[in-house]
Amino acid sequence: MRGEIEAWLREGSAELGLENVAGQPTTAFHFALLPGGGERWRGVCLVWRGDSPKPCVVIKFARDPADNPRISNEPAALGALAGFGVAGRVPRHLRGGTVAQRAIAAETVVPGRPLSVLLGRHRRPAKLLSALSEFPPWMTKIAAASSRPSHRDEAESWITEPLRRASRDPALTEIERSVLDDLLEEAGRLSDRAPLPAVYTHNDPGPPNVLVDHRCRFTGLVDWEGGGWGLPISDLMYFLARLGEDLGDIDLTPAIVAGPPQALELDYVSVARSSLHEMCEELGVEVRWLPVIAALAWLHHAGREAARDPAGQRERLARRRLHRYLDGLAQRDL
């Protein structure tokens, strides 16, 4: 398929910015293929123009001829983001099409390397989070730029229905079910008093998708295939929880349920709590929503993983995270 991809690149070389100085299509490409996992496999190719030191285009393609939402959703998400003033830190969709009956899409390369490459080697998590200090305000900027009142059916499908469905899960213990019922009750009260707005969300901003420079400063967020309208703060919550896990199993629950941050707190949980509270303040979201949003972040994540790879390992992992979070809340006697 590589030859067919190269032909597709040459055919759209003007659109893709792959012409050489003489205005002729580039004739030599180099490839690095990153195979994806799960049922909805998606190949990612980094493409170098013959003379460039860095890859110039990212190609994403489906393994099978069947429709693959991981390819087809992303251009729309990247198009929507263009209106929120985040250019340069997210890819720009360049070209879509079909090669060998498979969906294919090309986008620009965002500078930086995945944050996940650095994890496990940082002994000072709070310092890492400080280096990433630009990330939460950047996410807040997208949320603020896209914020709009949520419709009644959105609130039902994003908040009430997932919590109600989860509380019927036979895998829950009695204590976990009781915590979930409390969250549902709290969500009902808050929805009347301080309803959540709808914002544009990434839905999978884990460390592999967050790009950083050599000093660990945030440079971009990629893989917007799951992008769409959703709950505010859920992206930041998910990112902080995943980062805490990867850094050494740091439980984020105290940051979610404790009061406002105190001055000069420097541990990971405190820095995370500051970020969450600042985002709440910026978006005008009642902080009592945080425990509910955290549960919903894991529930929605598990749902997306189930859609991508039914009964796959990642879905089970997301469910485990939810159980752990509910147990943590129970211990704190929410």
Binding site: L33, W41, G43, P53
Partner: protein, 189 residues
């Protein structure tokens, strides 16, 4: 004629075109060898099979250690790949030569458009296929993936950068895959 089955293994996407026509797949098992049934070496032209048979794609998945990938074997491969057909060859370094040496051998046997890829994490579960033989591409990999961390890791990064700059990175990979196209009869002449 073997029929491609879904899902296609990762290495299919490194080929110039996805497999079609007649296919001979030697070695390997499981989803990686999902083009038709895996055949034993005896089923090929070297064994009791049709010595005149030629295939559009010949894939050797992780050949057994006793296979010698020498010029004679390369000539055999050239005989069983149809002109214009494709060869996919997985070479664990413990049995084969360096990518440069392998490319030279295959080129002499009538193959062209040769490309080598390093499957990081091995052939079974690669998370990256990195094209070898291009310093810019390999240097980018080293910069992106091995650039910080412990003293040992930094030392590995520095060593890799030197190896890439010196053109010996390919000789260090524990295994690689070669994709080659058999030149047409006209080209061969």
């Amino acid at each position: 004629m073997a029929v491609a089955q879904s899902p296609a293994p990762d290495w299919h996407f490194l080929l110039p075109t996805l497999p079609h026509g007649s296919v001979l797949c030697l070695g390997g098992a499981g989803p990686r060898a999902s083009i038709g049934p895996p055949l034993s070496p005896k089923d090929g032209a070297e064994g009791g099979g049709d010595p005149l048979a030629q295939y559009d794609l010949v894939a050797l998945l992780h050949p057994a250690p006793r296979w010698a990938l020498n010029p004679a074997a390369a000539a055999t491969l050239a005989r069983i790949v149809r002109p214009g057909g494709t060869l996919y060859l997985e070479v664990p370094r413990r049995i084969g030569r360096t990518p440069t040496g392998m490319v030279r051998t295959l080129r002499r046997s009538g193959f062209s458009s040769l490309r080598c890829y390093w499957p990081r994490q091995g052939f079974e579960r690669p998370d990256l296929w990195l094209e070898l033989g291009h310093r810019r591409v390999n240097a980018y990999y080293a910069r992106q993936m091995v650039h910080t961390g412990s003293l040992r890791r930094r030392a590995v990064g520095a060593f890799l950068r030197v190896a890439i700059a010196g053109g010996v990175f390919e000789a260090l990979v524990p295994g690689y895959a070669v994709v080659a196209v058999r030149a047409g009869d006209d080209d061969a002449r």
